[in-house]
Amino acid sequence: MIPAQFDYLAPTTVEEALAALAEHGDDAKILAGGQSLLPVLRMRLNAPEVVIDLGKIPELRGVRDDGDHLVIGAMTRHADVLRDPMVAEHAALLQRAVTHLADEQIRHRGTFGGALAHADPAGDVGAPALALGCEMVIAGRDGTRTVGADDFFVDLFETAVGEDEILTAVRVPKHTGWGAHYEKFVRVAHQWPIVAVAAAVRVEGGTIAEARVGLTNMGSTPLRARAVEDALRGQPATEDAVREAASRATEGTNPPSDLNGDSDYRSHLATVLTRRAVLAAAGG
């Protein structure tokens, strides 16, 4: 299908992109990998006058080591996150989450930062970013600011990124040696998760020293299951102990109802999947 007509801008620096955004304001949409924006344009559910493509800005791509953090450029493709050895070593949870994200084609077009900024609560990268305590680097006309993941996701499709700002990079605290698992529940492989659970666990001598748990599609934003994290701390990594902690996965959630399941079913799934994710992470 054919989108409504729009002007296309392709700045080559973040400064140019910010200038374009300042000029066109509300009439502009930023294009990252296009895997969410283009379907919306093609179905004519949205019709911006200007599309600003970040694809020609080299500084927004790639993963680099920055001491106790990894820095992932916002325009880094999911496929590049997936095969990056630093991500595998220091942020295995992100790697697990993008392994089965949508399909091969989308992983090669869609970007890590684009998916975070789109803030679809059913997206696969929000919950792990939240669980790992990522920091979002946001550029504006007045410089750069950093927002923690907890404050980044505001509401459905709404983030802390202002209308005149651009998400440029994600700082990922290294979780070297942590076990990680992303438990995703779908009916067909290419669909959005009905529910998914991201878990990173540090086990010391059979005891869970620390746990980070994020929930996908259990509310209007990706959610952190802090009640589960608290309950897990100091517990043995056994099925019974984890089951007990996982039963608290629905605290503070407000899951949607759709063709794939009513909210009570999603709540049930969240407890089951949390248990499985944590056990898998603890075992790995």
């Binding site: 919306v40 900024a117 679809d120 059913a122 499709f157 990124v161 651009i166 009513d262 909210s263 049930h268």
Partner: protein, 824 residues
């Protein structure tokens, strides 16, 4: 004249030839309709009703007409009678209530997505832009949506008709003289036997072919040429001529390469009629290609039935009667086959079993939803699902293995030919043999043992094994049978064989392939029968000027009817060539033997090939006086009977009782489709058919909301499986050659779809039956399976929670609105 004797070539029939059409089809470097560009061609965009049922108060086209590069904006009123009509070719009863179906209605729309105006512009994008400027004022009317409720006539889909009930069709074995009285059988079983009573839902499905529908009309020549992504170019030409008054001889319809249909392109569509009318009105070529959303919303849907079933049996499980009461949703109009689809299943509910008494009742019902028509299997999947679910239920009632119960009731191999309680004569088959083979492939006994272990240990993951022993009638159809059923056409097929001067062979078939592999399979038949190299055969089809006679492709008919026509045409070519060969060899025709593409003089090394004879006939320098200088031949074949492929499909699934997730563990099937022309094509048909049938069991459902809007209107919500969601299937065949055609073939295009759905649902139910569950509604979603385990009958319905992933409305509780998007 001498001919070098070629070494005996490998037989073509039975050979795993790769499909010669695949290079162009897979790369897309071919003539798909949307690839066509004609000089001066204009583009169309449709303005569609957002309402399921509404009066059209006014249509203001002013702003759209003034938009950039818009040439015209046309409404139904503007076209008047020139727009023709969409026909129903099969009134299943004499008093069938059939609403008039204009391609563009003038005063009232009857389903969401119906076309109310068309914009004509110089580019497709400009047409689309301007379509949004057409201002249509509607007065919304109450819509008949739920099938059962529509059958009460409380809300009318077409108020003028006074009823939603279109036709009631009945078959009763006692009345037909083919069996006993079913009510008596059921009454008897209520006192001293077993009665199984169930109600099953055949959900609404969307054919979802790969290539969206597309049509180009060029009115600038003496003939108006219509290119369309259709399965039925010949039927389309007839329908256009019959409803517009344009003589059939002035219309040429071409179905170029067509990307799938599954019955979904067996239609005369409003969009084709509108394009035809607009092209004539403007005198310029026009093109319309639908979007995927338009395709899912407005191309005809399939299935959508409620099935009320009563089966009676003796205490030992011998079946004594079957009564079927169907409600079938036609949608807003009676489509070209329409109400005939459930009737195609009427003769199949008794399936492979020896029922002494049978009754079939079907009420077709109009609603304000997308019209329904043929979808892969058309009537037979519904019938097979019902009977195969019932046989499993009977087995459960008896506490017996479901295969044992079937064996007790099926027709034994030595009983063929067998006349069924529905009055059909099954020609051949061996159900025991196919079942044995399928059980062996699945590892049936080992899996039953594992199932027992898992049940006993209370494993979180339970194993289920589903059985489906099916037969179907295919090869539509003997014309006399169609006549008895009041169908609007015959069931013959036509073929021509043209021997070219260079020795190449052009084969023309009236069947119209849309992905099946006709070019390869038909070439193999001709290569063998005529004795020429496979590469020398070209198969032409899908153009009413190239293949002037034909009845197109549907109902697993191309090979068994079209292939037989081809055999007859080839035989005529050989007969015509014989006197010419005798003449040129200066031998008596009686002394000639034809083998390997060559006439040889018996007892000598003298001979001449058919390809040399083609050149000789072209030159016509020397030929017998009583012969015309041509070897070309035509044949029209009317099948004497249907044919009846059968098979046993076994499926093992694992059910996660904690989440309801169903995972397929193994699928094995053994189909008897008679002789096989190309095993590779057959495997492709079986694999694709299986996935489509499995998808009905597990994934696909067209869901409407309370306003009559299709919620599952994109592939985000209408879940089509991909290769990532399926497993490798184990397929094999037994061979009972059909006795109704000389090649001994049976249809295979629909077999996988028909057989697999009940196999999967039976497996899912079998996995959790020990938890007190005897049914799960299709599609068996994880949520339904989980709810069934929680004690909700059938797992409940999902309609109440119907919200799409992409949706333009906002504000409903629990609704995810993905329309606004984030910053990036």
């Amino acid at each position: 004249m001498t001919a070098v004797q070629e070494p005996a070539a490998e037989r073509e029939i039975g050979r795993e030839r790769r499909r010669k059409e695949d290079q162009r089809l897979i790369t897309g470097r071919t003539r798909w309709t949307d690839n066509l560009a004609l000089p001066g061609m204009l583009h169309l965009a449709m303005v569609r009703s957002p309402f399921a049922h509404a009066k059209i108060v006014s249509i203001d086209t002013t702003e759209a007409k003034n938009a950039t590069n818009v040439v015209d904006v046309v409404t139904g009123a503007d076209l008047g009678e020139a727009q023709g009509a969409c026909i129903n070719a099969w009134a299943i009863t004499e008093d069938q209530v059939t609403p008039p179906h204009l391609p563009m209605p003038v005063d009232r729309v009857a389903f969401a997505g119906e076309v109310v105006a068309v914009v004509v512009a110089r580019s497709a994008a400009e047409a689309r832009d301007a379509a949004e400027l057409v201002d249509v004022e509607y007065d919304e009317l109450p819509a008949a949506l739920d099938l059962k409720h529509a059958a009460t006539d409380e809300v009318l889909a077409h108020p003028d008709l006074g009823t939603n009930k279109s036709a009631f069709w009945k078959f009763d074995s006692a009345e037909a003289g083919t069996g006993g009285d079913v009510d008596a059988a059921i009454e008897k079983a209520r006192t001293d036997g077993i009665v199984i009573e169930r109600e099953y839902r055949q959900q609404r499905l969307i054919p979802a072919f790969m290539e969206p529908r597309s049509v180009v009309v060029d009115p600038t020549g003496e003939q108006i040429t219509v290119w369309s992504a259709t399965q039925v170019p010949h039927i389309l030409r007839f329908a256009i001529a019959a409803t517009t008054g344009v003589p059939e001889s002035k219309i040429r319809v071409i179905a170029p390469d067509v990307g799938g249909g599954f019955g979904g392109k067996l239609q005369q569509t409003p969009e084709e009629m509108i394009a035809f009318a607009v092209a004539r009105r403007l005198g310029r070529p026009v093109k319309f290609t639908e979007t995927r959303s338009e395709s899912l919303m407005t191309a005809h849907h399939g299935r959508d039935q409620w099935q009320k079933l009563t089966m009676s049996a003796e205490k030992d499980g011998t079946v004594t009667g079957l009564k079927v009461e169907l409600l079938a949703d036609l949608g807003a109009y009676v489509a070209i086959v329409g109400g005939g689809v459930p009737v195609l299943g009427a003769f199949m509910f008794n399936s492979i079993y020896k029922f002494p008494a049978y009754q079939f009742n079907c009420q077709t019902v109009l609603t304000n939803k997308t019209w329904t028509d043929a979808y892969r299997g058309a009537g037979r999947p519904e019938a097979t699902f019902a009977i195969e679910r019932l046989m499993d239920e009977l087995a459960a009632e008896l506490g017996e293995d479901p295969i044992e119960v079937r064996r007790r009731n099926w027709i034994d191999a030595d009983e063929f030919p067998f006349t069924t309680v529905a009055g059909l004569e099954y020609d051949s088959g061996d159900y025991e043999k196919a079942t044995q083979r399928a059980m062996e492939m699945l590892g049936y006994d080992e899996l039953r043992a594992e199932q027992k272990r898992r049940r006993e240990s209370g494993d979180r993951v339970q194993l289920g094994i589903g059985v489906s022993t099916f037969t179907e009638m295919c090869g539509l159809a003997p014309s006399r049978v169609l006549g008895q059923l009041n169908y609007g056409a015959g069931g013959w097929e036509h073929a021509s064989v043209r021997m070219l001067a260079t020795g190449k062979v052009e084969v023309v078939t009236g069947a119209s392939a849309h992905g099946q592999g006709h070019e390869t399979a038909f070439s193999q038949i001709v290569a063998d029968r005529l004795g020429v190299p496979f590469e020398d055969v070209e198969v032409l089809h899908g153009d009413t000027q190239v293949a002037p006679k034909g009845l197109d492709t549907y109902g697993s008919r191309s090979l068994v009817v079209g292939g037989e026509a081809l055999v007859k045409a080839v035989d005529k070519v050989i007969d015509k060539a014989r006197p010419l060969a005798a003449h040129l060899l200066e031998a008596s025709a009686d002394d000639l033997e034809y083998a390997g593409g060559r006439f040889g003089v018996r007892g000598t090394d003298q001979g001449i090939t058919i390809q040399e004879l083609a050149t000789a006939a072209f030159a016509a320098h020397s030929y017998p006086e009583d012969m015309e200088p041509s070897l070309d031949a035509d044949a029209t074949y009317d099948p004497v009977n249907f044919n009846y492929p059968h098979g046993t499909h076994l499926c093992a699934v694992e059910v996660d009782t904690e989440t309801g997730q169903v995972s397929m563990r193994k699928y094995a099937c053994c189909d008897d489709i008679g002789n096989i022309i190309n095993p590779l094509i057959v495997a492709g048909q079986v694999h694709g058919g299986l996935v489509q049938g499995i998808a009905q069991a597990l994934w696909e459902e067209a869901v409407y909301d309370d306003a009559g809007t299709l919620v599952s209107g994109s592939f985000t919500d209408y879940l089509l499986p991909t290769a990532a969601d399926t497993i490798s299937f184990d397929i094999d065949h037994t061979t009972s050659p059909s006795l109704t055609n000389t090649l001994g073939t049976k249809g295979v295009g629909e077999a996988g779809t028909i057989a697999s759905t009940p196999a999967v649902v039976n497996a899912v139910v079998d996995a959790v039956r020990h938890l007190g569950i005897d049914d799960i509604t299709m599609p068996c979603t994880p949520e339904r399976v989980w709810r069934a385990i929680q004690g909700v009958a059938g797992g409940g319905a999902t309609e109440g929670a119907a919200m799409p992933h992409f949706d333009s409305s906002t504000g409903m509780e629990g609704t995810v609105d993905r329309t606004t998007g984030g910053a990036q």
